[in-house]
Every structure is written in C-alpha cells, then in structure tokens.
Symmetry: none
Amino acid sequence: MAKAIQQRALKTRAKLLDAAQAVVFEQGFEALRVEEVVKRAGVAKGTFFAHFKDKDALMDQLIGTEMNRHLDQIATLEPPKDIDSLIEALLPGMQLATRERYVFDVILRHSGAAANAEIGPIASTFARNVEVLANWLARGPFRKDIDPVLMADGVGAFQIQAMALSFCAIHNGEPMESMMKRYLEAWLLPKSEG
Amino acid sequence: MAKAIQQRALKTRAKLLDAAQAVVFEQGFEALRVEEVVKRAGVAKGTFFAHFKDKDALMDQLIGTEMNRHLDQIATLEPPKDIDSLIEALLPGMQLATRERYVFDVILRHSGAAANAEIGPIASTFARNVEVLANWLARGPFRKDIDPVLMADGVGAFQIQAMALSFCAIHNGEPMESMMKRYLEAWLLPKSEG
Amino acid sequence: MAKAIQQRALKTRAKLLDAAQAVVFEQGFEALRVEEVVKRAGVAKGTFFAHFKDKDALMDQLIGTEMNRHLDQIATLEPPKDIDSLIEALLPGMQLATRERYVFDVILRHSGAAANAEIGPIASTFARNVEVLANWLARGPFRKDIDPVLMADGVGAFQIQAMALSFCAIHNGEPMESMMKRYLEAWLLPKSEG
Amino acid sequence: MAKAIQQRALKTRAKLLDAAQAVVFEQGFEALRVEEVVKRAGVAKGTFFAHFKDKDALMDQLIGTEMNRHLDQIATLEPPKDIDSLIEALLPGMQLATRERYVFDVILRHSGAAANAEIGPIASTFARNVEVLANWLARGPFRKDIDPVLMADGVGAFQIQAMALSFCAIHNGEPMESMMKRYLEAWLLPKSEG
DNA sequence: TATGAATGAGCGTTCATTCAT
DNA sequence: TATGAATGAACGCTCATTCAT
C-alpha cells in the first residue's frame, strides 16, 4: 500500500525530470522556467517544490546526471595511451559544461557542496571524477613520481582552467583541446631532464 | 567649466565607492545592495548607473582593487627561493578571494573578460598575475623544461582549484596552503627521474 | 523638478486606487486580486508594492476611505433627537462593514492599530468615530450622568456587537437596527427609576 | 467490533488533541500547523481531516474547551456583590482571549456560528455565557430596569470592546480591567438621577 | 478509518536596471 | 549629470485541503 503511494511519487518525480529535460533540449538550461516544467509535467507548482528544494536543485540533478553519463562513458574506456586520447575522452564532458555559461556557473556553484551535508549530484560527480581519472591515469603512460589521485586532481584543475578561459575574450577562442594539450603535457608527462 | 563638472563627477564616484566599501566592510560583498550604496552616498539610484555600467562593474572595481593591492605586494618581493615562500606570497590574495563564496564567484566570472572590449580590474589582474608570476618563476629554482608563462598559468589553475575545494565540504577543511604545497611541488619542481 | 516626479507618483497611486475601486464595485472586496488591480491600472506589480506594503494596506485604505465618507456624512447632521434617528445615521456605516464578512474581518483586524505606530485609515476612523459621536451625543436628548466620550465608546461597542451577531445563525436574522434599538435605549436613555 | 473501531478512533482523536495542545503550549495558537500536529500525533495528514472538519474546527475545540473551563469557574461563584468582583470573575476568560491576537480573531469568527447547524464549542460558550451572566446579574445589586439577558448581552459587548482595544496602540496600554470598570459602571449601575 | 502525495491560486518579493524629466 | 519612480519576470512559498488507494 505504502509502496503504491511511493510509486506514484516516483512517477511524478520522473514526469518532472522528463518535462525539464524536454525544455532543456528545446531551449537550453538557462531558459528553463519552473512554470513551464510543471505545466508540461501536468502537475501543480507546489508539487515541484515538494520534490525539489528549489530550481537549483533541479538543475543540480539535471546537469549532474549528464555529467555522470559522460563519466560512465569514460569509465568503460581503456586507459588512454597518450595525452591526445585522454583529452578526447575528457572533451565531451567539458563541452557539456561550457555549452552555456549558465551551466558552467551552476556547476561551479555546486562543485563544492554547500556548507551542510547536502552533497548533490554535481558535487558527487566531482568526487567520482577524481576516482575514475586516478584509476585511469595510473594505468597510462604517465609520470610515476606522484600519486595518481594528485594527478587526477591536477587534470581537474586544468579542465576548470580551460573551461573558464574558453569564456574569456582575451584567449580569443583558443579551443579547449589545445589548451588542455599544453597543460597536460606539462603536467602528466614524465620529464626527461631537470 | 568642464573641469568643474568633471570634478563633481569624480567626487560623486568617490562617494559611491566609499559608501560601497563601507557596506562591504559591515555586511560583506554579497549583502551589498545598490539601494543601500546610493542611500549612503546621498545620491539617486540613476546616478549610480551613470557611474557604473552595472552592479557587477562596481564589484569588479572593488574586488579588483584589492586583488591588485596584493599583486603589488608580490611584485616587490624577491623571487621565491622555494615552494613555501611562493605559497606564502600567494596566500593573502587567495584568502581575499575565498572570504566569501560570492567573491570567488565574481572573480571567476570576471576572470575572463566577458565582452572583448571590457577588460575590467579583475580580468587585468589575472593577466598581470600571469606576467608577474612568470617573471618570478623564471628566476626561481623551478623546472626549466616549460615556458614560464605556462608555469604561471598552471599556478593560477591550482590556485583556483585550491580555492574551489576550500568551499567543499568533502575536503573537510584541508587548508589551502597544504593543498597548494602538494600541487605546486608536483607542478613546479624539476622531476628527478623520467 | 522633484515636484513633477512626486506628481507622477501620486498619479500612479491614484490609478491603483481607482482600479481597485472598480474591481470592488464589480466583484466585491474579497474577490479583489492584486494581479487584477495592477493589470487594470496598467502598472507593474512591483509598483503596487512600492505604494502599498501589502494587499491588506490597500484594503485598509479602500475600506477606511468609505468608512470616513459615512462619518463625514454623520458629522454634517444635526444632533439626533431620538434613538431612531441616531440608528438611522449609524446604519449605513454598519451596512458597509457587514456587506461582506471579509470586510468585517478586515475592519476588526485593523481596528486596533498593529503594535507599531502604523495607524492606518481604518484605525484612525475608529478614533474619529468616537470623537464625532461624543460631540453629537452630548447635544442630544440622552443621559447626562456619564461622559459623552464614554457614551460614544459604548455605542461603538454595541455597533460591533450588532454587526458580529448579524453574521450569527443563532440570532436568526434579527436586523441590526432592532438590536441596536434595544441596546441603545438601555445605554443612552436617562433612567427613570433606580 | 464496532466498539473496537470506535475505541481506536477516539484514541486517534485524543492523540491529535494532545499533540495540538503541546504545539500550542510551545509555540502558541497562531503558529500551529496541521503538519506539525499530525507529525507529533504520528498519524497521516488525511487522518486529521477525518477527525476535524478543518483546522478551524480544531481551534474551536481547543479554545472553546479553555473558555468553558473559565465559564465553569464562574458558574460556581456567588453572584457578584459589586462591579469589581464581577470584573474579577470575567477577567481570566478575557485574558485567555487576548493572549494572542489570533485567538481573539478566532473567537470573534466563531462567536456567531457560521452555518446554522454547526454550533461549535466557542459559539455555545457564548450562548452559555449570556445564560450564566444573566442569571448572575439578576441576583446582583444592579439596575432592574432592563432584562437581565440584555444586561448580559451588553456585558459581552463591552468585553469584546475592551479586548479589542487592548490590542490597540492608541489606547496606550490601559488595562482591560479599568476599561471594564468604566463601561460596567455606566451600564449596570442603577442611575440615581434622570 | 488511515494514508500521504498532490493540489493550487495568489501573494509577496526581489532588485538591478531603465527612462522621462 | 542627476533624479527617483517605475519596471518586470520569475521565483519561492504557503499550507489547508482533497482524493485515490
């Protein structure tokens, strides 16, 4: 009995997420309006807020899910045999995050979980990202003098850097992959000489 | 005549900046409201926008000025003889940037100038930061296999990373300096073996 | 200059009040929606709240104004020569207040000014009511053993009582005037015997 | 069987009332939320409405019960020998009703039963109040020229008046008892002269 | 009886920004 | 330059009440 009711709630939540995804698909993340979502989902506004603390929580969910999809993708791959193939793997996720400035902002905002314990999808993706990457890098042809986790951390740092700069007029449109190449060669490759 | 007018305008601008600084001092950056600023400055709301394109421009000014102060400080120093003294020099600026999450967000937003023409205080600080750092690192006991500008870029990336993580509950309060130490040792030191 | 601007604000306020009055006329007080008012007035919602703290403040204004109109009316009359003519004078105001249960509630809510200093139209009407009535009763053929202000206070008390009971099913539809007659004869007439 | 079911229902109702009383004790009447009550009672929201027509019915019950307690008290007393002892008897009930503005509003709203059929605790208390008071006043040293029921009605009117004014900032904190004294002396005492 | 997810209309709010004077 | 009233589009929220199970 209680289960049936729970089921109904899950269905509603799914309806909301579906509707939101449809809106995003058609108009982008920034253009998403709560009103539009509930209208499409065919539920009341109050219901929305019973399922998501606020609009940001929905965004967290939406974007986090997509980020995780990319991470899942990466997790299935063979360890990269060189910088280029590494970048190739990382790029889709970075492109998602920079498709809209708004999305990048949301991600940054959620990247560190807010003071309290609420670690949402995006924040946990960041954690998982390090884990997956570390595992991956450890098995690649990269420098061995530092902890793989540290290596992964650094890759993350350079990803953020490249993404941030991709919005930057000064760096007049240098593609992220070329930035990444520069960074990662310096960061990951064993150094020949001192 | 024109000079008199200019004088008056400058005075108004100064009044606005003073008022803004007072608000920030008392309530922080995030709590700053244009309304409050103009009230304290004793001018009308419209006047504010005659002097600053938007609120963000004021923030840019306010925060950029402080950041530059720190950079000026650094510029006077001798090149660092090791990682620790480098971090010691960088830390004050990072602490400013992480005093409030909001400030960090503003900085990131401005780190790459939004529109090509408008390179505000924060954006130019970033540019100057690379310049100063590159110059500085080139003369320090660091790796020589990569361009100093690239080294400086990387330091910037790790600064951002450490700052971002300092807001993150997961990284339960590891101080930024210890993160930086880990990062910079791996990034800047000549690598002993291949 | 400033005057012109003030003028504009007054005009806007008038537009809002006019629109509100029109809605009330057509649909009653309870049915009044802020959204409808601003639409009719042709102003933005934000403007409404710049002029009225909240919907209740508008109601206070609207109802208070009408109550005052009735009071103005009374103030022009000759002192009542008997209870009946007194009641005849009081009745229109009471009918306004009981036209809608909602109106009566609003009046009660505002009858005592909220803790703070904000004495709105309705509250001040109550004060004025005592003043006018006292003046009036003093010159009528009523008991002389008590202060006219006290007499007026009592009349007010019985007005409230009669209005409250007019909503009461128990007092199956006894008209307010007959209740008032009973009350006021006992309250205002000189008592013949002990 | 039916009895067992009834038993269970009564228990649930009692749980709800207990929970409600606890909330009121801790946070007052106005702050009472149905959600909080059902949570404390450990039942579902729907159950609440199976036992009380609406939240107001609960309030009616809660407040009416307390009012009746005071009336029971009065009913046991000897007829008052003067105005002061009358006021002394009335005061506790009035203090209950003015503990929170919200409570006073609820009482007024219920003072006349809204729908004919439904005479709830508060409404019936009012009826009983008149009865008890009339009986009581008839036996006291008060005017004899009017019906005791009318006298009691008037006392009620003045009680409401005094309570309403106790919320009023204008009447800067004159205690209810002194207001009542003024009113009741004028209302109840035999008049010496014409 | 009991459950608890869903309802839903509208209020209040926000506050940077604009624009006629 | 300066003024300050007006804008406006959502968002968040409220929370008693209903209803399918």
